[in-house]
């Protein structure tokens, strides 16, 4: 742990005295504490985090909500009450099969959040590993892996998603794997750059000189130091992943009906513009709000970890 702190102190000094005032008042705070503090004092970030946490809670409690609040099942149809406008009985109206929109929205949150977080985690693991190996070992392996990243990033993502999801009949988990298959590229690039710059630092040279193996060096010393970069990359990715999921489900190539997701709810709704506009508006607003919250939070986390802004 001590090398890790040293590394960070070095960056701070190298960056100059921008953060002098802050560190004079809070001299003993670690890099992580300081970053956490900066996120928690950012009002926008806190509001976004609270929103995402509440939505996660709602998604987790979806079965209870459908039972005790809306009194409808996500897939139960009522063909006598189609296209009900919002009313006390259906708080957000009902759709073309008489299903309750609010209940479906709540279940849709499960899909979006599962895919968002799972994909981010998967890309982090794959991209982190590839980036570390490529950046630390260098040489032909580095060139090979980075050309692979170039290749993956030059194929427009949605075409790849479509190719894969026509073949794999996606649910939330397979969809996450599909999106992560493309998403790791960006993380890989960032982590590689970080590993490359860490590799020549004195503490790494020192650790190697006392006989630490490559694996130990990467796991114990490089990963903790590259963690801020990874966290920032992942938190910025979540919003874009949720967008990708909703686009795929909208195209009918993501989550398959009757399982509700915000994307496939919109895809059904687009035929009923003329009389039931709320079916088109509500799921889209939810996607927008979640993605907005995720990217604002991601920006705040990025700024909090950025030593130049201290």
């Amino acid at each position: 742990m001590s090398e890790f702190v040293t590394g960070v102190e070095e960056t701070r000094e190298a960056v100059g005295h921008v953060g002098l005032a802050a560190s004079a008042t809070t001299p003993s705070r670690s890099y992580w504490r300081e970053s956490a503090h900066r996120v928690s004092t950012n009002r926008v970030a806190v509001a976004c985090a609270v929103f995402i946490l509440m939505l996660t809670l709602v998604a987790l409690l979806a079965p209870l909500i459908s039972r005790y609040v809306t009194h409808y099942d996500a897939t139960s149809q009522d063909l006598t009450r189609l296209f009900q406008p919002p009313s006390p009985r259906h708080l957000l109206g009902s759709d073309e099969l008489g299903r309750d929109t609010l209940t479906r929205l709540v279940y849709g949150a499960q899909v979006s959040l599962t895919v968002g977080f799972l994909t981010a985690a998967l890309s982090l693991v794959v991209g982190g590993t590839v980036g570390m190996v490529a950046g630390y070992l260098g040489g032909w392996l580095d060139s090979l892996l980075m050309r692979l990243v170039d290749v993956i990033l030059s194929i427009p993502a949605i075409f790849l998603f479509i190719l894969l999801s026509t073949l794999l009949r996606p649910n939330a988990v397979t969809l996450s794997f599909i999106i992560a298959l493309v998403g790791w590229g960006n993380v890989g690039r960032l982590v590689r750059a970080e590993a490359l710059s860490l590799r020549s630092r004195e503490f790494v040279v020192a650790t190697r000189s006392i006989g630490a193996g490559t694996l130990r060096l990467i796991v114990r010393h490089l990963v903790p130091n590259a963690l801020p970069v990874m966290i920032v990359a992942a938190s910025l990715a979540v919003g874009q992943i949720i967008l990708a999921e909703s686009a795929l489900s909208f195209l009918g190539l993501g989550i398959q009906p009757p399982t509700p997701s915000w994307g496939n709810m919109l895809s059904n709704a687009q035929q009923y513009y003329y009389h039931s506009a709320w079916l088109v508006v509500v799921p889209g607003v939810m996607i927008f709000l979640v993605v907005l919250a995720a990217s604002l939070l991601g920006n705040a986390i990025r700024d909090a970890f950025d030593p130049r802004l201290r």
Partner: protein, 324 residues
């Protein structure tokens, strides 16, 4: 010097081109194998007919032969495989749809650039003002809007609601009217909504980029020199600063090309715009895997080419780059 740089960039693009074609081929074969939709289940076909169709499609060959045929087809004959449904060359379908896609993406990029530059420069010049905060906030929000939903909302407002109110309304889809369409005004009316929706996300990315690069340029030494020489602020900003701050945008547009084309697919689907994206979507819906593989490869190669052009253009505009 420029030629050397160009040659280096072209050589660097070769592994990516080979990689792209190999990756799409492998993904397709690993997941779908040699499956032909509807063939095995069709009760009207005798086993020997099935074998014959499989042979004609080439899926009875060993994997390495198929791979060799795929690569030779692309690089020697410009052949991106054959449709699984009717055996027609994929490239023939692509060429029919390509003009529509180009029309849409080029218009969207132009709209994006034309709006991003003034927006970015304005927020940079009035950094920290209310206008700057508004524009920056708007670009964060623009980045979070799902494109397909924006398309739906645009149709809901400009086609459905405007029509309902008796206002002049815009068509909700297609490239031209089916009856008596095709005159310039008709084409333009069909283009406005999809192109604007497609440009929206890039407007927010590019305007933020122009803002930060303008801020960077404004603090350069030569800007101080220009002002010290007594140059008017207007001339200093709009001639000296602007040129240098928007040149890097060329590279960014090149880098965003995969995103623009991917967004194009979604927008084409929402507005039933008859481009390559809609072709891919329709093929995916009917399980025409080879068609999806062909269009994906084609689009990916277009991206590599676009990146190359952006790089070269940047090197032409900014001589410093060539000497790196």
């Amino acid at each position: 010097m420029l030629w050397k740089f160009a040659l280096r960039r072209v050589i660097a693009a070769i592994p990516v081109v080979i990689g792209v074609t190999t990756v799409t081929f492998l993904l397709m074969k690993v997941t779908a194998g040699n499956y032909v939709p509807g063939l095995d289940l069709n009760p009207d076909l005798r086993p020997e007919d099935v074998a014959k169709i499989r042979h004609e499609l080439g899926v009875d060959q060993p994997l390495y032969v198929q791979y060799a045929q795929w690569m030779i087809g692309i690089f020697l004959h410009g052949d991106f495989g054959r449709s699984l449904r009717d055996g027609t060359p994929v490239v023939q379908h692509i060429l029919v749809r390509l003009p529509a896609s180009l029309e849409l993406t080029v218009t969207a990029i132009l709209i994006g650039v034309a709006l991003a530059i003034p927006v970015g420069v304005m927020s940079a010049l009035r950094r920290g003002s209310r206008l700057d905060n508004l524009l920056t906030g708007g670009s964060v929000a623009g980045f979070a809007v799902p494109q397909f939903w924006l398309g739906l909302m645009a149709i809901l407002l400009f086609s459905v609601t405007f029509k309902g109110w008796g206002l002049p309304w815009l068509p909700s889809g297609g490239q031209q009217s089916t009856l008596g369409g095709g005159d310039p005004m008709d084409l333009l009316a069909h283009l406005v909504l999809p192109a604007t929706v497609l440009s929206f996300v890039y407007l927010s990315i590019w305007s933020r980029f122009v803002r930060s690069s303008t801020l960077e340029v404004l603090s350069q030494d030569y800007m101080r020199t220009a002002r010290a020489k007594g140059m008017t602020e207007r001339r200093a900003v709009y001639v000296h600063a602007l040129r240098n701050s928007i040149v890097p945008l060329v590279t960014l547009i090149g880098l965003e090309l995969p995103g623009v084309l991917a967004g194009g697919l979604v927008v084409e689907t929402v507005f039933s715009w008859p481009g390559v994206g809609l072709l891919t979507y329709e093929s995916a819906k009917s399980y025409d895997f080879t068609m999806v593989m062909g269009t994906t490869t084609f689009v990916a190669l277009a991206v590599v080419l676009g990146n190359l052009i952006a790089d070269l253009l940047y090197a032409m505009l900014d001589p410093r780059i060539r000497y790196r």
